[in-house]
C-alpha cells in the first residue's frame, strides 16, 4: 500500500517537473516530496526536509522550460548532497545547514510559513529577496543565495541535461573537419 502510494506520487512528481514552470498552482506537500525523494535516492548528508528544500530552491534557480529540463531533472540536489557528505572540512556543511534554516526563517518572516508550505509565487518571492544582494551579499540569506546559485549552476551545467540538452554542446567528439573559421587563407598583415 505504502509503496504504491509513493510510486504514484513519484510519477506525478516527474510529470509535474516537466511542466512545473508553466503550471501555476502546483503544491507538493513536504512529507510526500520527501518520501518520494527518499525512495528515489537516500540522502547522504541532508535530512529529507533539507533535501526537498534544496531540490526546490535549485529548480527555482534553474527551472525546466520549453528548451530543456531544469535542476530537478538534472538531479542537482543529489550532487550537492554527495559533495557535502564527503566534505573534508566542517565549513561548507555548516554553511549549508545554517543557510537552509535561514531560508525557512525568512519564509516565515515574510510569508508566514515554512518555505515548502508556500505557494510557488511566494517561494519565488522569498528567493527574490535572498537574491537582492547578489552583487554584494552581507546577510546570511544573501551569502547563501550566492553559494546556492554557484553550486546549482556548476552541477547543472556539468550534468547530462545541462551539457547536451540545454547548451547543446557539440564538442568532445571526433571532428573530421575542425569546427570554426579557417583564417590561414586570409594572408598576412
Amino acid at each position: 500500500m505504502e509503496d504504491r502510494r509513493i510510486e504514484v506520487t513519484r510519477r506525478d512528481l516527474l510529470k509535474a517537473a516537466g511542466v512545473a514552470a508553466i503550471a501555476a498552482p502546483l503544491v507538493v506537500g513536504e512529507p510526500l516530496a520527501a518520501a518520494a525523494a527518499a525512495a528515489a535516492e537516500a540522502p547522504k548528508f541532508f535530512t529529507r526536509g533539507q533535501w526537498a528544500l534544496v531540490d526546490e530552491l535549485a529548480e527555482i534557480i534553474i527551472p525546466a522550460d520549453d528548451h530543456s529540463g531544469g535542476a530537478r531533472a538534472a538531479k542537482v540536489v543529489n550532487a550537492i548532497d554527495g559533495w557535502l557528505a564527503e566534505a573534508f572540512e566542517p565549513d561548507p556543511k555548516n554553511r549549508w545547514v545554517e543557510g537552509l534554516a535561514r531560508v525557512d526563517a525568512l519564509a516565515r518572516e515574510k510569508k508566514g510559513d515554512a518555505f515548502m508550505q508556500l505557494t510557488p509565487e511566494d517561494r519565488e518571492a522569498v528567493v527574490t529577496i535572498m537574491a537582492s544582494e547578489e552583487a554584494k551579499p552581507a546577510s546570511v540569506e544573501g551569502k547563501f543565495f550566492n553559494e546556492l546559485k554557484r553550486r546549482t549552476s556548476h552541477f547543472y551545467y556539468t550534468s547530462k541535461i545541462g551539457i547536451h540538452d540545454e547548451l547543446e554542446y557539440k564538442g568532445n567528439v571526433l571532428q573530421e573537419e575542425y569546427a570554426g573559421i579557417d583564417v590561414s587563407k586570409e594572408g598576412t598583415n
Binding site: 534553474i62 537574491a131 546559485k149 568532445n172 575542425y178 579557417d182
Partner: protein, 532 residues
C-alpha cells in the same frame, strides 16, 4: 629529447626518472563526460589544491602542518583534478622555502610535458640578441640562425599546428593544418589587423595531420584541451613519453630507471669530471650510483639548479659547475618595444586567449539573477565570451636567485630549494600596460569589456622557470657554453630551460626542445671523436 637524440645517434642511454611511469592513456580519461565521474572530475576533498590567496598571504613551505592528506599546487584547483593527481607532486613530500613562489612540479616519466599548455613558439633575435636591441642583460652566444634548423626538425618530428604570419618577432614554423577560429576570435583578429597587430590561431605543439610515430594519434579536434589540467590521452599533443622516450626505447639503446630521485652529480676524484649520478630509490629508500661517460641533466630548470648546487665535492666546493658563483635565476604576439620604444618598460608581452563555446557556459553563468530569464540569458550568451591573459618577459636579474636551504629537507632527506625571487618595477609597469592594451584591443573589436584583472599573479605562476645556469662564451659570467655544456666540467650538460639567457615572452618549450636536440647532436659528435 636528450634520450631520443642520443639513442638515434647510436649511443646507449640510461634515463633516470624521479617519478613513476604513469600510463596517461589510462589516467587522463579526457573523453569522459563530467557527469560520468562521481565528483564531476574533482579529486577527493581529502586532497587540497593551493589557492591564489594561500600563495599571497604566506611564504613557502605552503603545505606545512596541513590537515589534508595531500596538498598540491594551484593547477590542481582547475577542473578535472582527479585525472592529473598522479602526475603532480604532493607539496608535503616536496617542500621549498624562501620568498613567495608558485612552483608547479610533476614527477612522472615525461614530467610536465604530460600536462603542458601546448603553446609552441619560437624565439627570435629580439630575444637572442635582446641586449643588442635595448642594452639590458646579455646576448645569447647563439642567434636565431643557429637554432632555426633545430626548430624545423622539432616541428617535423613532433608536429605543430599554426598559421604563417611572417612576423619578425615570432618566426613561422613547419606547420601542419591550423586550428580554426570562432566568430568572436575572427572579429578580434580583424580588429587587430587594423592596429598592425596579430591574433593568430594557437600555435600548438599538437599534430593535426599526424606524425610517423605509432604511439601518437592526430588531433580529433574535440575542443577538450582545456580539460583535465591539459593532458591529452590520444597523444596528439606532444608529451615526451610517447613523442620521444618510447621511440627511443624502441632503438634498444635506452634503459629507464623510474622512482629514482637523483640527489647529486658524482665526480671522479682524479679528473674532476662528472662520473655519474647518485640517486635514492623513492620506494625502498636505498641509495645507488649510476656511472656514465657523460651526464645530461633535464630535471626542469629549478630542479636542475638544486641538483647542481647539491653536487659538492672536493673539486667543486660550491656545487658542480658553479665556479662563476651564479646559478640563480589565439596568441597575440609581442608588439611592444619592437620598432617603437616604451617610456616605462623594456621588452614585451604576448596574450593567450580564447573565445567561443566550451563544455560549460563559462563566464555567462556569472550574470545576475535566477529563473527562466537567467537560464535563457546564460544559454544565449554561452558562446559569446572571449578572454585573454598576458605573458610578459621577466627580466633576468642577478639579485633574483635560488639556493639550497640547509635546514629543510624533502621526504627523502634531500635539502630543498630556497627562493629569493621577486618581480621588479619593469614587470609591474609592463603588467599595467598589458591590462590597458587588452582593454583597448577588445574595445577596438567592438567587444564589451566585462572585467579586467590588473593584479600580477604570484611569481612562478606561468610555470616558465628559466635561466638558473645561463649559457655564454665567458666562463666567468655564465655556467654553460652554447651547447649547454658546463664550462667547468665538459661531460656535464643541462638541457632544460636552465641555459636560457633571458626568458622572452614566448613560451619556452619549443626552444628547450630545439636546444636540447642541438646540444645532444654536438655531444654525440664529441663522444664519437673522443673529445670528451
Amino acid at each position: 629529447m636528450a634520450a631520443w637524440e642520443l639513442t638515434s645517434r647510436g649511443l646507449n642511454v640510461l634515463l633516470v626518472e624521479a617519478g613513476k611511469k604513469v600510463n596517461t592513456t589510462e589516467v587522463l580519461h579526457s573523453m569522459e563526460w563530467p557527469y560520468d565521474h562521481p565528483r564531476r572530475g574533482q579529486m577527493s576533498p581529502k586532497f587540497h589544491a593551493l589557492s591564489r590567496n594561500e600563495y599571497n598571504i604566506r611564504n613557502p613551505p605552503y603545505a606545512q602542518d596541513s590537515q589534508y592528506e595531500k596538498v598540491f599546487s594551484y593547477v590542481q584547483g582547475w577542473g578535472g583534478s582527479d585525472y592529473s593527481k598522479t602526475l603532480v607532486v604532493d607539496e608535503k613530500d616536496h617542500p621549498y622555502s624562501g620568498t613567495k613562489y608558485a612552483w608547479v612540479r610533476a614527477r612522472a616519466l615525461g614530467g610536465k610535458t604530460n600536462i603542458w599548455g601546448r603553446l609552441a613558439l619560437r624565439l627570435s633575435d629580439y630575444d637572442f640578441k635582446g641586449k643588442s636591441h635595448d642594452g639590458y642583460g646579455e646576448d645569447w652566444p647563439i642567434s636565431y640562425a643557429d637554432v632555426a634548423p633545430y626548430y624545423d626538425r622539432v616541428d617535423l618530428l613532433l608536429g605543430i599546428s599554426g598559421v604563417k604570419e611572417n612576423l619578425p618577432q615570432l618566426p613561422d614554423g613547419k606547420f601542419q593544418r591550423p586550428y580554426k577560429l570562432t566568430p568572436s576570435e575572427v572579429q578580434f583578429r580583424h580588429a587587430l589587423q587594423k592596429m598592425g597587430r596579430t591574433a593568430t590561431p594557437y600555435r600548438a605543439g599538437v599534430t593535426t595531420d599526424g606524425v610517423t610515430n605509432k604511439y601518437r594519434s592526430k588531433c580529433f579536434g574535440r575542443g577538450a584541451c582545456s580539460r583535465h589540467v591539459g593532458g591529452c590521452d590520444i597523444h596528439a599533443a606532444f608529451d615526451s613519453p610517447t613523442g620521444l622516450i618510447y621511440p627511443a626505447q624502441d632503438t634498444g639503446r635506452l634503459s629507464i630507471r623510474t622512482n629514482a630521485t637523483v640527489h647529486e652529480v658524482t665526480v671522479d676524484p682524479a679528473t674532476g669530471k662528472a662520473r655519474g649520478v647518485g640517486f635514492i630509490d623513492t620506494v625502498t629508500g636505498k641509495s645507488y650510483e649510476a656511472r656514465a661517460k657523460a651526464v645530461v641533466l633535464a630535471a626542469s630548470t629549478l630542479e636542475s639548479a638544486r641538483l647542481l648546487l647539491l653536487s659538492k665535492s672536493r673539486q667543486h666546493p660550491n656545487g658542480i659547475g658553479n665556479s662563476s658563483g651564479r646559478p640563480g635565476g589565439f596568441y597575440v604576439p609581442r608588439f611592444r618595444n619592437l620598432t617603437e620604444k616604451q617610456p616605462d618598460f623594456i621588452r614585451g608581452y604576448g596574450f593567450e586567449g580564447e573565445g567561443g563555446f566550451g563544455i560549460g557556459p563559462g563566464e555567462g553563468a556569472d550574470a545576475p539573477g535566477f529563473g527562466k530569464a537567467w537560464k535563457k540569458h546564460v544559454r544565449d550568451y554561452a558562446g559569446a565570451y572571449i578572454s585573454m591573459g598576458g605573458f610578459g618577459e621577466v627580466l633576468p636579474r642577478y639579485e633574483n636567485s635560488v639556493s639550497i636551504d640547509p635546514l629543510i629537507k624533502d621526504r627523502w632527506g634531500i635539502p630543498v630549494l630556497k627562493f629569493d625571487y621577486q618581480f621588479g618595477d619593469n614587470e609591474r609597469k609592463m603588467a599595467a600596460d598589458m591590462a590597458q592594451q587588452a582593454q583597448e584591443m577588445f574595445e577596438a573589436a567592438g567587444i564589451e569589456v566585462v572585467s579586467v584583472g590588473k593584479n600580477l599573479l604570484t611569481e612562478g605562476w606561468s610555470i616558465h622557470e628559466l635561466g638558473t645556469a645561463r649559457m655564454g662564451d665567458d666562463p666567468r659570467t655564465s655556467v654553460l657554453n652554447q651547447f649547454q655544456q658546463s664550462h667547468d666540467v665538459n661531460n656535464l650538460l643541462v638541457v632544460d630551460g636552465s641555459s636560457h639567457v633571458n626568458a622572452s615572452c614566448q613560451n619556452p618549450t619549443w626552444t628547450i626542445m630545439a636546444l636540447a636536440m642541438r646540444s645532444c647532436e654536438h655531444l654525440a659528435d664529441q663522444m664519437k671523436k673522443g673529445d670528451l
